[in-house]
């Protein structure tokens, strides 16, 4: 029982840290590209307004990036401290992929971020633009490696067993494993949506306070426009990703759809309370034959239920609900972005209710991303690496006391940082992108020659 509790604590601690960490890269991966767009607009037009916009959102980026760096370093340690079994068993796969991320992405991002933030008056314009592009490339490379590893854990391929150790037989197959392309695109789009709703939401917040702020109008339009294009793409990719999951991880799909028994003509469960005791759904609201139709494009097709995978089955309720939160948020994002795009056409002034709606959806990308992350990670249980390593075999021998104490420390730290982050972001946005005050500009200006 003791070990089980330590496993639970290790999972909570790691899960908490990953959940906290993932928030910031989700913002920065796409925000970096949005900054490239702002920077290019400035380079093309020479309009000081675009420069002010670029500088405001660079601050938001720097803040998010720093939070990502520090929580990411925690991750580098916790991989080994919380999951020694993981590194022992699949370290020869996971290790190099993580090392590639550090080597090819982290240094690139961190070094050129300095130039991007503080070097505007020290390097020629093209070099500053180049630094902005390199930071964006760095964030994308980083996402590439992390998702390669995560996808390999979901759908492992290309590994062989040599001398009792799991090693890469074919790196190409390890990296481009079956679920990787779908997951990468899905995550990139999720980042795009998170960043665009963040930009739109904070701009809306500014416009609620200063309706005539030209810069905030520009960024609101940019955010809404990007979101309006990306949401439908995300729905399409999400569907393809689901079909890929059905092929490679059918147990996860059974949990998502709350299908308990293998049957033909399976109904689509819209809402229900999955009952783990009775292996059935309470208060189910269903569309007859819907699941078979959606997943197999044939109303009478057979779908495997949870029972077909016993005893290695994921918990149904959390996966089922998290999936509905994700999809529900996505649908609202679709409605909001298209309504916004329609209302903002031809430079029409945005109505206040719409601004409030956007302000309320500032962090909606986080909700959807975290829900999606829960679906995919819990849906993989009881495996840590599908078919290769069980979660319970990967936990370490760290004492419950040490885990509990450090967990408390992390919870307090994360709580403080997250509240400070949201407060500062809203505050920054509330001030708008007017030229910064001299004192603030000084502190941010870096060094002079």
């Amino acid at each position: 029982m003791d070990t089980l509790d330590a496993v639970a604590l290790a999972r909570i601690q790691f899960g908490l840290n990953i959940a906290f960490h993932i928030l910031f890269p989700t913002v920065t991966i796409a925000l970096a590209w949005i900054l490239v767009y702002f920077r290019v607009r400035y380079a093309r037009t020479g309009d000081g307004g675009w420069l002010a916009i670029y500088q405001l959102w660079t601050k938001v980026f720097a803040l998010s990036f720093a939070m990502g760096v520090v929580s990411g370093i925690v991750m580098a340690f916790q991989f080994g401290t919380n999951w020694p079994g993981y590194m022992n068993k699949v370290g020869n796969i996971a290790g190099p992929l993580l090392a590639y991320e550090i080597l090819t992405a982290f240094f690139l991002e961190a070094s050129f971020l300095g130039v991007m933030l503080y070097g505007m008056n020290r390097v020629p314009g093209w070099m500053h633009l180049g630094a902005t592009v390199l930071v964006a490339i760095g964030t994308t490379i980083s996402a590439f490696w992390v998702l390669a590893l995560n996808s390999w854990m979901q759908t492992p391929l290309g590994h062989v067993v040599v001398d009792g150790q799991i090693v890469a037989g074919d790196w190409w197959q390890v990296i481009f494993n079956p679920s990787f392309p779908y997951r990468l695109v899905h995550m990139m789009l999720a980042s795009g949506l998170t960043a665009s709703f963040l930009v739109a939401g904070l701009s809306a917040w500014r416009l609620l306070q200063a309706a005539e702020d030209v810069a905030a109008k520009k960024t609101l339009r940019a955010g809404v426009g990007i979101a309006a294009v990306l949401v439908p793409l995300q729905i399409l990719i999400g569907d393809l990703h689901g079909l890929n999951t059905l092929e490679h991880q059918p147990a996860k799909i059974a949990a998502i759809e709350a299908i308990w028994k293998t049957e033909k003509g399976v109904p689509l469960v819209l809402l229900a309370i999955p009952n783990d005791e009775t292996h059935s759904n309470d208060f189910a609201l269903e569309i007859p034959k819907g699941a078979s139709l959606i997943l197999k494009h044939d109303p009478d097709a057979e779908l495997k239920g949870i029972d077909a995978f016993a005893p290695d089955t994921p918990p149904v309720a959390p996966v089922f609900f998290a999936f509905r939160v994700m999809v529900g948020t996505g649908v609202l994002m679709l409605l909001l972005s298209w309504t916004g795009a329609w209302r903002l056409r031809r430079d029409a002034p945005p109505p206040r209710w719409l601004l409030w709606a956007y302000a309320g959806f500032t962090f909606s990308g986080w909700v959807a991303t975290l829900a999606g992350w829960l679906v995919t990670e819990i849906g993989r249980q009881p495996w840590l690496v599908s078919g290769v390593l069980r979660t319970q075999d990967a936990a370490g021998a760290t004492s419950e006391a040490a885990l509990g104490a450090s967990l408390t420390g992390y919870v307090i730290t994360y709580g403080l940082m997250l509240s400070a982050y949201t407060v500062v972001l809203t505050h920054l946005a509330g001030q708008g992108s007017a030229p910064a005050e001299p004192r603030l500009a000084g502190a941010a200006a870096g060094t002079k020659g």
Partner: protein, 330 residues
Amino acid sequence: MTPDLALVFTVLMGVAILAYVVLDGYDLGVGMLMPAATEREQDLMVASIGPFWDANETWLALGVGLLLVGFPQAYGIILGALYLPVAVMLIGLMFRGAAYEFRIKAEGWHRELWNWLFWFGSFLASFAQGLMLARYITGFEPGFGYLLFSLLVAGGLCGGYVLLGATWLVMKTEGKLQKKAIGWARWGLMWVALGVALVSLATPAASETVRDKWFDFPRTLPLMLLPAASVVAGIWVWRASGRLKRGGGYAPEWAPFAGAVAIYVLAFLGLAYSLFPYVVMDRLTIWEAAAHPSSLKAVLAVALVVLPFIVAYTAFSYRVFWGKAGSGTG
């Protein structure tokens, strides 16, 4: 002859850790000096590390990453034994990283609070790293004496980072703040001397392996060059900072920093010599702990291609921000 992958990997990891200690060392040191400065000086100090600290911290991720990839078994033992100090260090690093960004955007008492957290985080992280170092080189032995030793080494490492931070400021600032920094540097140097002396005496006392390696005549004679060189570097820092302080006589402003870095490099070489070939003192050698050759090769191939680029653009970044830190228009 096939190259000794484990050895190559060890060197690579050592370089990453040394780079981390020196680079993040100076910005942690600057963080620890915050309370000793006025508000305006604090802005300058923070501006002097602004473009660099993110990248500096990345070396920690690389060092740990290489340990994890190259020596998974050692990683488990080391980080398992250091679980709590590591957690403390990470929390410290998080606070200072966040505080760095927040303080720029804050005003009034908020700013005071972030300044304080920036100092506190820097100190916490440095102190925890000192504890980790002390525990590591004594092979994680329990006992009161070892605890006392750990606390002293932690103090010494904080002093060492203060030395790096202060000499960095000597290089990057001017006028009154520079004068102050010279004073801080000399103060830090005394702590470093204490820390290095402690470690140099305690490691051979605690471990027979280390004793045999250093005091095996006639090998001892050339080996003594290492401590001798450290002493010379220390005197160099003292004299160069003295000259800068008085303003008489010529000493380049980078001299104290270069001397401080030299002390770190020498101390690092000494430790490396004491430990080698163990990755966990007296328990596990680098060859026993090394991961499967396939993953060592996979990482080395990429590292050898990418590292020159990393060095190049790091150098580029230092070149762009060469000169005195200013709070002016930049």
